[in-house]
């Protein structure tokens, strides 16, 4: 029999839609009882002797709970005592609509065989289907449907020959419903939230102690968050000081905590702590918000707990642990931080987020939660019918809004990037997550490229020094196509040496202010990933016109010194030039030429001269206190077909590497001096601040554990003591120390000379420094080129170049891009490491303990440059007994073994793909003690690295 169900619905665009569904009624839906002979049910669920000990009903009976009873008394229904319950379809649908967690629980109960819960699809049963009547509310109709079904059961079972005393009992919360049911001749009992589980419970043996905790979470439309104030009130509030404006920064380890960085007057920014969802009030990472400070007595200390919002996926699951959340242990008052709450959002900083879908447990649900890869971002609820197609894929989702009554922000699906774990997808993800602009260059940008075929014109030659006769060559890593530097060295008639560093003249092609320039300025740097390069300038420039390839005429910006044999500079000269490189060598090739005594051509002699000078320069630099640091860097050997990593190799340094580096440093320093001389207000320089002494604590302690002393009062002292720190029989020890020292360093940054007073480059021990030598891959160098060109009258200036504020903003962008490029690079290495280990399977490797923590040790496998943490405590499981000595630092496990820094250990390395979004390298100890599990630190873990 066919009926149709009609209802009206509001569409997202505000329209009203009438929806008509066909609804089929059938007469082959069985009652599910063992006593029934009429129904042809093969395996009835409800038992013949349905007997629950009850004071109210002494005869066997089946229970039919109504919706509210299921919603509020799910704890009791779940009790093993409760058996032979008929769950009506009406009830199930209503429960599902109102509370997903309860729905999940009742479904679980139904699936449990011993409980004998039977789902009766009364809505499709010919005799129990009821149509909504005029003037009847949806709830009333459902109540009636439940009563009709109960009535049907009663009559149906009475017909059974051996039903005996068997009855059906309707359970309801509602007095009116009970009365109506009794009128119909039904046996109905009312159970209120208070009465049912209490001592008067008609059902004995039910666990009385249970509390009704779910009550509040069922009300669907309740408001979870306080209202945001309108902008006008926020503005007056900020003006009179009641509110503070700042950037919202979510805590990545604890979703209930965040800080707001308040931009104070001048330098002193303060941080305001926010705790609890209510106080965070729907702010998302990086939003500009207005906060109100609490009075001092309500200030709190940041909690150290790690709380992950990994709730069951039910879209409406409320945070039960919200109540558990540390009502913030009152710590020492010194720990207390200014605490407040968000009162309004000044500017949202939402961008499309990348992540994965966690499918709702309810099969046909259309609302699903999306978990962003970035843990600062809350989970986002999206609506889609294609959830099953999107699971396991990396997708992009944009936030649409965050209503007051919603636990999660609402968003929509934007784009599918591809399967998680795919190389292309993951690369795309890490580029997106690190905000690396990687779209192909636009038409507007490309229109500013020189027309092909391009050749050097007469005019160019007129204004440039013609250095094509010089024996210039370039030395680069293998496979390098963007060659931006070349060198030469020749003997002058007076016995001195002439050394030239020739840098690609990129600023000749990129004119200030045009689209090409703007794009390059925005990109800031070329990003090198494993097997992929994201260019800062279009390929025509980076790999052809600007690249100083051999045997073609190229425009260059040359820095030429006259030096004596002691590498003392007698004269420095900068000029725009035309060069013709005679050879593009790799480091290894150059090294071979120098070492091969039979080679005696111009190029080789030139290289030998350079090498000799470089050694002197390096010695002098180290003398002054330049640091030689180390970080375990790896290179992958890629399969040429699949681009899968097939082998790993730590980077090897040759003499020629440092030869090129020395001259680049020299050129950079010379240029820095020159442009600062000319433009003391607006020179773009690079500085490396000295780290605070406390940064070195770990290094000093570590050395002490091996009875060595590290002096940190000056760079020179540090360099010397690092050189002296050698252990016999442990050659890698010195490298380990240098790795540690690297971690103590600060980040080097670009700045504008007019905006700062401290110019020192700590790592290089140079009073002034800039970047001049890689204009193809760094925008800073292009600016430096322009400044230098103006300084030597080779080019004109333009207003932005001389504006220190504009330059300062540019520096900020460059520093940001630079940092992001590094993170992206590291993430790419981490991902390829994972791929590598995925192919390798389980490996046993030797490593060294790099750090000792309270509950873990961090291990470095030198062979792979791979770092991992071995935890001695597992979530939930009691771990072994640990005692931590912070002085050593050392960690004693089970009183058996004590781990010190630099100890050699053996670990197994495997890939843990259980969380597909954050795949991890797992390490577990094999020697000296086995059986401890591990996780790899986050790819973006703090790992400052000295970057020149």
């Amino acid at each position: 029999m066919l009926k149709s169900k009609t209802f009206v619905k509001k569409t997202r665009s505000g329209g009203v839609l009438k929806i008509v569904r066909e609804h089929y009624l059938r007469d082959d839906i069985w009652c599910g009882s063992e006593v029934c002979t009429e129904c042809k049910d093969d395996s009835p669920v409800l038992q013949r002797d349905a007997f629950i000990q009850s004071r109210l009903c002494t005869y066997p009976h089946y229970l039919i709970p109504d919706t509210n009873v299921v919603l509020h008394q799910i704890d009791i229904l779940e009790d093993p005592v409760m058996r032979n319950v008929v769950i009506l379809q009406t009830v199930l649908q209503e429960v599902r609509h109102r509370s997903a967690p309860v729905y999940k629980r009742i479904k679980d109960a139904i699936h449990e065989k011993e409980k004998h819960f039977y789902t009766f699809t009364n809505e499709h049963h010919r005799e129990t289907f009821v149509e909504r009547e005029q003037g009847e509310s949806a709830n009333d109709r459902n109540d009636r449907a439940i009563r009709v079904a109960a009535l049907w059961y009663n009559q149906h079972l009475r017909k059974a020959p051996c039903a005996g005393e068997l009855r059906v009992v309707l359970l309801t919360n509602d007095q009116a419903n009970k009365e109506k049911a009794t009128e119909d001749g039904l046996l109905a009992y009312r159970c209120t939230a208070r009465r049912f589980p209490s001592a008067q419970s008609p059902w004995q043996g039910v666990n009385h102690g249970r509390q009704i905790s779910l009550l509040n979470e069922i009300t669907g439309g309740r408001v979870l968050f306080p209202e945001h104030l309108p902008l006008s009130r926020i503005q007056t509030g900020i003006k009179n000081g009641t509110f503070l404006q700042g950037t919202f920064r979510a805590n990545r380890d604890n979703y209930l905590e965040a800080t707001v960085f308040v931009h104070g007057e001048g330098e002193d920014g303060t941080e305001v702590l926010l705790q609890g969802l209510q106080n965070l009030n729907r702010a998302v990472h990086q939003d500009i918000v207005a906060v109100e400070l609490f009075p001092r007595e309500r200030w709190a200390a940041p909690s150290a707990a790690v709380l992950e919002d990994d709730h069951a996926n039910d879209e409406d699951a409320e945070e039960e642990e919200a109540e558990k959340v540390p009502c913030v242990v009152r710590k020492k008052t010194s720990m207390l931080k200014p605490t407040g709450r968000v009162v309004g959002i000044i500017k949202r900083n939402w961008r499309p987020f990348c992540g994965m879908l966690t499918q709702s447990q309810i099969k046909e649900a259309t609302r699903h939660l999306f978990t962003p890869a970035d843990r600062h971002i809350p989970r986002i609820r999206i609506e889609t019918r294609q959830a099953s197609a999107l699971v396991g894929h990396r997708i992009i989702v944009a936030i649409d809004g965050w209503p007051r009554n919603s636990r999660y922000p609402n968003g929509h699906f934007v784009r599918n990037l591809g399967g998680a774990g795919d190389k292309e997808t993951e690369t795309e993800v890490l580029l997106l997550e690190h905000d690396v602009p990687h779209q192909p260059f636009s038409k507007a940008v490309l229109s500013f490229l020189p027309r092909m075929p391009w050749a050097i014109t007469e005019e160019d030659l007129k204004v440039r020094a013609d250095l094509r006769h010089l024996c210039v060559c370039s030395v680069d890593p293998p496979g390098c196509t963007d060659i931006d530097d070349a060198l030469h060295c020749r003997e002058l008639d007076n016995g001195n040496l002439e050394v030239g560093v020739h840098i690609a003249d990129v600023s000749h092609f990129i004119r200030p202010g045009n689209a090409l320039d703007q794009e390059a300025a925005n990109r800031g740097t070329t990003v090198y990933l494993c097997g992929k390069r994201i260019d800062m300038v279009p390929e025509l420039l980076s790999s052809d016109l600007c690249s100083l390839r051999s045997n073609v005429d190229r425009l260059a910006f040359s820095c030429v010194w006259e030096m004596n044999r002691n590498a003392e500079i007698i004269r420095t000269h900068f000029t725009k030039s035309v060069i013709n490189s005679k050879a593009s060598l790799t480091y290894a090739e150059a090294q071979m030429r120098i070492d091969d005594a039979t080679m005696n051509d111009d190029i080789t002699n030139s290289l030998r001269g350079l090498n000799a000078l470089a050694k002197i320069l390096k010695g002098r630099r180290i003398e002054k206190g330049a640091l030689t640091l180390s970080s375990p860097e790896v290179r992958f050997h890629m399969d040429s077909e699949t681009h899968d990593p097939i082998d790993l190799q730590t980077k090897e340094l040759k003499d020629t590497n440092s030869m090129v580096e020395e001259f680049m440093l020299l050129a950079n320093i010379s240029v820095a001096q020159k442009i600062y001389e000319e433009f003391s207000e607006c020179a773009l320089l690079r500085k490396h601040p000295a780290p605070p002494l406390s940064n070195y604590d770990i290094l000093v302690k570590a050395a002490k554990s091996r009875d060595l002393e590290i002096h940190t009062d000056s760079a020179k002292a540090l360099a010397d003591s690092l050189n002296a720190a050698v252990l016999g029989g442990f050659p890698y020890f010195n490298t380990l120390l240098r790795i540690l020292a690297t971690r103590c360093m600060m980040q080097a940054i670009y700045f504008c000379s007019g905006m700062d007073s401290d110019f020192r480059h700590y790592g290089l021990a140079s009073p002034i420094y800039t970047h001049f030598t890689s204009p193809i891959r760094r925008y800073s160098d292009i600016i430096v080129h322009r400044l230098l060109a103006v300084a030597i009258n080779a080019d004109g200036t333009y207003p932005d170049l001389m504006d220190k504020h504009k330059q300062s903003t540019l520096c900020n962008n460059l520093n940001y891009r630079h940092k992001m490029a590094q993170y992206a690079q590291r993430a790419s290495v981490a991902f390829h490491t994972q791929l590598f280990f995925k192919n390798k399977g389980i490996l046993n490797e030797e490593g060294f303990i790099l750090f000792v923590r309270k509950n873990a040790i961090i291990i470095l496998i030198a062979k792979f440059g791979l770092e991992g943490t071995v935890f001695f405590k597992n979530k939930g499981k009691p771990g072994p007994k640990l005692s931590f000595d912070s002085e050593g630092p050392s960690l004693t496990v089970e009183d058996q073994h004590t781990f010190h820094m630099f100890d050699k250990v053996k670990v197994t390395v495997t890939l843990d793909a259980s969380n597909i979004q954050h795949q991890k390298i797992r390490m577990a100890l094999v020697e000296p003690i086995a059986g401890v599990s591990v996780a790899w630190p986050e790819p973006a873990a703090k790992k400052p690295k000295l970057d020149r």
């Binding site: 009206v8 619905k9 505000g14 009203v16 309108p230």
Partner: protein, 291 residues
């Protein structure tokens, strides 16, 4: 429009019959054919009706949608007409054959019905200047056997009578934004007042007389016909001449008078029928398309 070819002798026979007030099928000049009306035939519309008049078969569905009111009348809703000449009706409509006729018919319907005199358009306004109900009236010609306009107008009137628009309320939130809230009860809906909705009476000039509800054969004998839209009170809202021939002023006057008379007489039984049908409620026997 659909037409039939008939011989001269047939024409003469028909014309003589009309002159004597006796038409081929036995009707008088002012008689309609047998009519069947059923409402609520398409469940996923907001209102629908099917009218069968002789072999002419017309289905009308009305969908209400929330739209922005027209800027010149911000406090009124409006109607949109679309006539689909399906190839079912006659093979001539196949492909794009019916398109031109469809546009012509819908334009005429628009002229006849979309006026605040025939329907209280203000009652369709939800929120002046922002939201109003737009009634999309879709007419589907299932079979053509002459007198399309009259059948369509009766079907439209019946469908409008049958239309139930869900009730909405406009809520204003704190920020001054307006939101539309739907009533939870499907029975809670807006009905239209159809008291002033006109019916179309098409008068076909055959010889010196005119007939209402002309069949295709009678139409073939006539050079011009006059369309008169009449409200239940006898007011004429629209007059249009159809066909290639001309009409002299006297006969136009005469035909309008007949139209008024016939139209007035048509409304009363129609409304009675619709109301009776409605009062049956759920007990009403549905016939649908299987009749």
């Amino acid at each position: 429009m659909a037409s039939v070819q008939i011989s001269e002798a047939e024409k003469v026979y028909i014309m003589h019959g009309v002159r004597d007030d006796l038409r081929v099928d036995g009707r008088g000049c002012e008689d309609y054919r047998h009519m069947e009306i059923e409402t609520d035939v398409v469940s996923n519309t907001d209102g629908s009706a099917k009218v069968r008049m002789g072999h002419t078969d017309v289905l009308v569905g009305i969908k209400a949608e929330l739209r922005r009111p027209r800027p010149n009348v911000p406090d009124e809703g409006y109607l949109e007409f679309f006539v689909d000449c399906s190839a079912n009706a006659t093979p001539e409509f196949e492909g794009r054959g019916g398109e031109e006729l469809g546009v012509e018919l819908s334009n005429t319907l628009y002229k006849v019905f979309n006026s605040h005199r025939s329907l209280d358009l203000r009652s369709l306004c939800v929120c002046p200047g922002e939201h109003c109900w737009v009634l999309y009236v879709d007419v589907l010609l299932l079979q053509c056997d002459g007198n399309l306009f009259d059948a369509m107008s009766i079907a439209i009137k019946a469908a409008l009578f049958n239309t139930r628009i869900p009730k909405v309320r406009v809520l204003e939130d704190e920020e001054g934004g307006k939101e539309i809230e739907l009533s939870d009860d499907p029975y809670d809906c807006l009905r239209l007042r159809v008291d002033n909705i006109p019916c179309i009476v098409t008068l076909c000039k055959v010889g010196h007389r005119h007939v209402v509800d002309a069949t295709l054969q009678e139409k073939a004998c006539s050079a011009a016909s006059l369309l008169v839209a009449v409200t239940p009170r006898g007011a004429v809202t629209c007059v249009r001449k159809l066909g290639a021939g001309s009409l002299d002023p006297d006969s136009i006057f005469e035909m309008t008078e007949t139209g008024k008379r016939v139209g007035k007489a048509l409304h009363a039984p129609l409304m009675e029928l619709l109301q009776k049908d409605e009062s049956l409620g759920k007990k009403r026997q549905k016939v649908g398309f299987l009749a």
